[in-house]
Structure formats: structure tokens, C-alpha cells
Point group: D3
Chain length 129, copies 6
């Protein structure tokens, strides 16, 4: 559907720090939006991971912390789940994630923090199973 550019390859390589090999395979072979917007995946891999996540200057754990903070602040539920999972894969501990969510409370208020903690709890349970 699109040629495997150098940036796409670099993006996939960078993603290995955030997702399991299994999920990576699934993302490459099965794209839920392939029929209407195949380029969304391309832009996420090439631009978000290939151009941005792959930069120097912050560790994978630090980048995961930044991303969790922003999607929780936006109240984006599906992405909160995705990026808590990726944060664990990148090496954040469950405690670090819970602390980051509590640290947001004085800045974004209880509602979005509470909703994010419910999601975190679900992710922690699927991981510990």
C-alpha cells in the first residue's frame, strides 16, 4: 500500500521500545483503518515514531511519561489505555504510572485523573494475568 520508506523502518525500530514484537506484527499486517485511511498508520509510524520518538535527548521512559500525561490531560480514553501499555513496555513501573496520574490532579482536576486510574487498573490487571 505504501513503500517501506527509511523513515517507516526507523519508526518501526523505535516502536520496539514501546510495543511487543507480537503487537508490532499485528500493526504491520492488520490495520483496522486500512480500507479508508491507510496513510494514518504510515504517518504515525513515520512521523510520530520515525521522526519524533527516535530523537535523542530523552529516554524512552521519559517520552512515555510525557505522552501519558498529554493523553490523560486531553481525556482521550482509548489512547490512555494504549500509552499506559506502551509505558509499561518502555520500562515505567506501575507505581511510576500511578504517581504520574496523581501528579496531574492539581493541574487537571480529579475527573480526568479518576477516569485514567480506572483505565490504568484495567491495564495492570491484563498484564498480571
Amino acid at each position: 500500500m505504501f513503500k517501506l520508506s527509511e523513515r517507516f523502518a526507523k519508526g518501526l525500530e523505535t516502536m520496539r521500545q514501546y510495543v511487543s514484537e507480537e503487537e508490532l506484527q499485528r500493526m504491520v499486517t492488520a490495520d483496522a483503518l486500512a480500507d479508508i485511511a491507510p496513510d494514518l498508520r504510515k504517518f504515525i509510524v513515520e512521523y510520530a515514531y520515525g521522526d519524533i520518538y527516535s530523537r535523542d535527548g530523552l529516554s524512552a521512559k521519559q517520552r512515555a511519561l510525557v505522552v501519558i500525561s498529554t493523553v490523560v490531560t486531553q481525556g482521550a480514553a482509548p489512547q490512555t489505555k494504549t500509552h499506559i501499555r506502551r509505558g509499561l513496555h518502555a520500562g515505567l513501573t506501575e507505581q511510576e504510572i500511578v504517581e504520574a496520574l496523581l501528579q496531574l490532579a492539581p493541574y487537571i482536576g480529579f475527573p480526568r485523573v479518576q477516569n485514567a486510574l480506572v483505565i490504568a487498573q484495567e491495564v495492570f490487571q491484563e498484564t498480571s494475568r
Copy 2:
């Protein structure tokens, strides 16, 4: 105006990781909102710093990263300035702050990232003077 509670003392102590002794003195002796809402400062020191920032499980640098990410996502300009300053005091380098702002771009878009980088540039210039 309010008794120096244990939590207030703990909050001030925690703030030392994020602000200079000079700024801390100014905050204690001169509160711009003292005439209409003296308790706002009390809540920020006691709750934000005494209860939350002082917790274990994340470093001061990590907490600063979380807070910068959220205020930039909210588009809160005065707080972006304040917390970039506090992040530098907590030990974040200028490069780490710039990388955190760029890491937000795929999640919040260019407008708020660009506005935050302009503010970061002002803070870096006042620091280097």
C-alpha cells in the same frame, strides 16, 4: 493569615526542589492574590506540593516533566512559563524540555507546541542572562 500547618511546611520544603530560595521568600511574604483569595496559595503549597509533589515514586525531574506536559497540553501560557522555570530548577536540561515539547507535537498538534517553544525560549534567555 493562616497557621503554618505541618502540610504547609512540608509543601514549602518540597518546593525548594523547584524554586530558588529567593522566589520561595517572595511567595511567602508577597502573595499577589492575598487580598481576595489568600487560601489559593495555601492550597497550592499544602495540597499540590505538601500532599502530591512530596510523594515517593517519581523523581523531581519526572514530576516536572509531567507538569510541563499537562500545562502545555492545556494551553495555559502563564503556567507554561512558571513550570519550565521550575523544571530547570529541578534539574531538567534545556534540551530535555525542548524534546518534551516536540514529543507532544504528534499528540496535541503544532499550535500549542509552537506557543510553548516561544515561551521556553524566553525562559532560557532570562536564565542565561
Copy 3:
């Protein structure tokens, strides 16, 4: 419940560009919020459609594009579904809608665009059935 004002009639007439005759009938005869807030429908028809959508200076397709852009930016899921449906009725093609959602990515980030594309896919599938 309310008298059929000139603005209400004008609003209904304007809505014909955005919804099918069938949906219009359903809106007039069955209002899900009729028991607690019958005036909400009245305000939407009279003000949104009668006063605003009916104005000159933009085509129905252009207005639909503006409205899809704003509800996606707000992350309002039910309205994203409604207004993608209405956009198709107003003459936007599926490709134009997908392109508008991708055009938002550099400005609002991937999370809300991705959520909107999932909704667009559902709408396109119900239409093609």
C-alpha cells in the same frame, strides 16, 4: 409543545440539505429529550439551522466541513457520527471526509483523528449496506 415559528420552519427546511426525509420526520415526531428539555430541539432547529446554517456565503458542503472539523476537535463522539452522516447527505464524498480528518492531524494530534476515523468507518459501512 411549542408553536411552529417561522424560524423553526426555516430551520427544518434548511435541515433537508443535511438529513433524509425519514430522519427529519423522526426528529419532529420523536424527541428523545422531550420529557425533560423539549426546548433543546427547538433551539437546535431554530437557532442552529434556522438562523445559522441557512445563511448565505457558504455552501452546504462547506458548512458540513466546518462542523465536522469542530466536533472532531472537541472530541465529541456522538456528534462526530451525526455530522459525518449529515456531511455525506450534504454532498461531501467519503474521500473528502477522510481527507478533512487527516488534515486535522497536524493541528489536533493523532488521538482525536484516529477516534474520528473509526467513527467515519462505521458510518461509511452503514451507508454502503
Copy 4:
């Protein structure tokens, strides 16, 4: 899990104006997030209710009106349900709540108002059962 501080006791006492005795008992004995973030409940009771809601200068009904307005503006669905329930307990009538939601329409637009009215309708129905 945490000592019953004076602020916690004051918070619980204040909550009696907003929740039934039954719900209060459930909140004290069963905290859904107890395994990962027991302190969230503590902060909500001590800070939100003990420090803030308990202040003089606004009635419980007025505070409930402010809180409903803000969670609806944020588009926070679970909290919209919670705080419409608490507003009724604090003495707001169903009509006052509906009027507050309609009053928001010129300021936040129809989407979030409509979503909130659907939630209000659900709460009113569970109450009248």
C-alpha cells in the same frame, strides 16, 4: 489504609450534603481504586470536600451548580452523572439542573449540552423509580 485525619472527617461530614448515607458508607468501605491508588479517595475527601466544599460563602446548592457546570463543560461523562446525582441530593430540583444545562448552550455549544441532558435524563429516571 490511612489515618482518619481531621480533614478527612470534615470532608465526610461535608459530603453528607451531597450523597446519601448509603453511598457514603460504600465509599468508605469499598474503594474501587484501593489496590492501585488508595490516596485518590483520601485527596478527594480531604481536599475537595474537607478543604473546599466545606468553606463558607456559597450554599451547597450553589456549589453543586458550579461543579455541574464545570464537568459538563469538560465533557466528563462519568462525573456529569455523579454530580447531577449529588446536585439533586444537595437540593437542586430537576428543573434547575435542566435550566443550568440549557444556560450553558450559548457558551459551550450544543454537543456537550445534549450529551449532558441524556445523562440527566438517566439520573432523573433512576431517582423516580
Copy 5:
């Protein structure tokens, strides 16, 4: 520029509860946006004030409280100033306004509350002059 509809007249009458006679005259005779969008004022007077504010079921003070809560939550600085002024005119005391802003803190976080208190202070000072 537009005929003085019944709704416009009703809107102006309703506005008297929120603005001084002097400001009302200025709004009618001098509209800053008259050259590009004269209808904005028309819609604000007719729809916001004529249709919504004029409804029964909430007092002017309650409506002002709802509107202040929402514009502060949105972080809309010019409207925060406008509606704190109008709230005072509608009979809210300075203390009630400060309490409403503090009541928002657990729900929207400190940044927007702090920015709103700075604006409230400016309004209170111009009033007391």
C-alpha cells in the same frame, strides 16, 4: 442593520439584569464587530439573552454563576472578565465569585483558577474605584 425583533427586545430587557444602562447603550449604539459580523451581536442578544437567560427556573444570580463557571473552565480570558462584571451586576457578591472560583480548583486544577482570580481582582478593583 437588523429589525428590532421581539426576541431582540426581550434579550435587551433581560440583559438589564446583567449590565448597567450605560453599557447597554454602548452595546446598542457601538458594536466593535459591526463592519464584519453585525449578526454576532444580534445572535447574542436574541438567542443567548432573549431565548436562554430569560427563561424561568433559575435566578439571575444562579445563571451568572453557571456562566462564570463555564468560561473559567474554558480558559476564555476576555469572557471571564465580562461575566465576572455581569455576575456582580446580577447580585453576586465578590465573596461568592471568589468561592465559585476556588470551588472549581478540584475539578479544573490550579492554572485556570489562578488566571481567573487575577482577572477577578482586576474587576473588583475597577468596581471599587
Copy 6:
């Protein structure tokens, strides 16, 4: 500072539809953020313009309409100014822009629409000088 990639060249070429030759030159030779984040400009040109704006399926006028709608919805003042200017360059008329802003009112409320119209007025005045 960075090699002139094919995507950068394509981005610059696409930008010609939205900005004057003079502004384009200024953007290439003088980047206000060059000392702290030179890559921001690179990402905007390569990704926003090279990858996204340059796609088929929407006209430049339609893309400008989408972008104006989203930055106004976000309340991003500097970008509202920038993209109203670019919309005019892309061929939108002043009337079309005003109509798009009014079309947003039922969806985002008056505050952000009013703030955007004030900015539009400034842009129209600088253009007509």
C-alpha cells in the same frame, strides 16, 4: 541546518498556495525558534505541508476552512491569525471566513467565536491597507 529533503521541497511548494512569496522567504531565512528547536519548522514544512496539505481530495480552500475551524475551536489565538491570513491567500473570501466563524457558534459557543472575529477583523484591516 538540515538537508533539503524531497518532502521539505514538496512542503515549501505546497505552502505557496497559502503564503506569499515574501513570507515564504522569511520563513526559510529567518526562523524565530532556530536556536532552540530548528526541527519544529522542518516538521511543519515536511509533515504538515509536504505530507498532509499536499494530498489530493480537498482543494486548498477546503483545507484552509478545516484548519481555521480547528484552531478557532482550540482557542489558539496566534494560529487563528496565521491561518485566517493563509485562508485569504488560498482564495477564501472575507465573507466565507466570517460565515465559517459564525457557523461554529452553535457548536463551540460565543466566547471563542467572538475572540476569533476580533482577530479576523485585524487581519482584514491589515490586508486592506
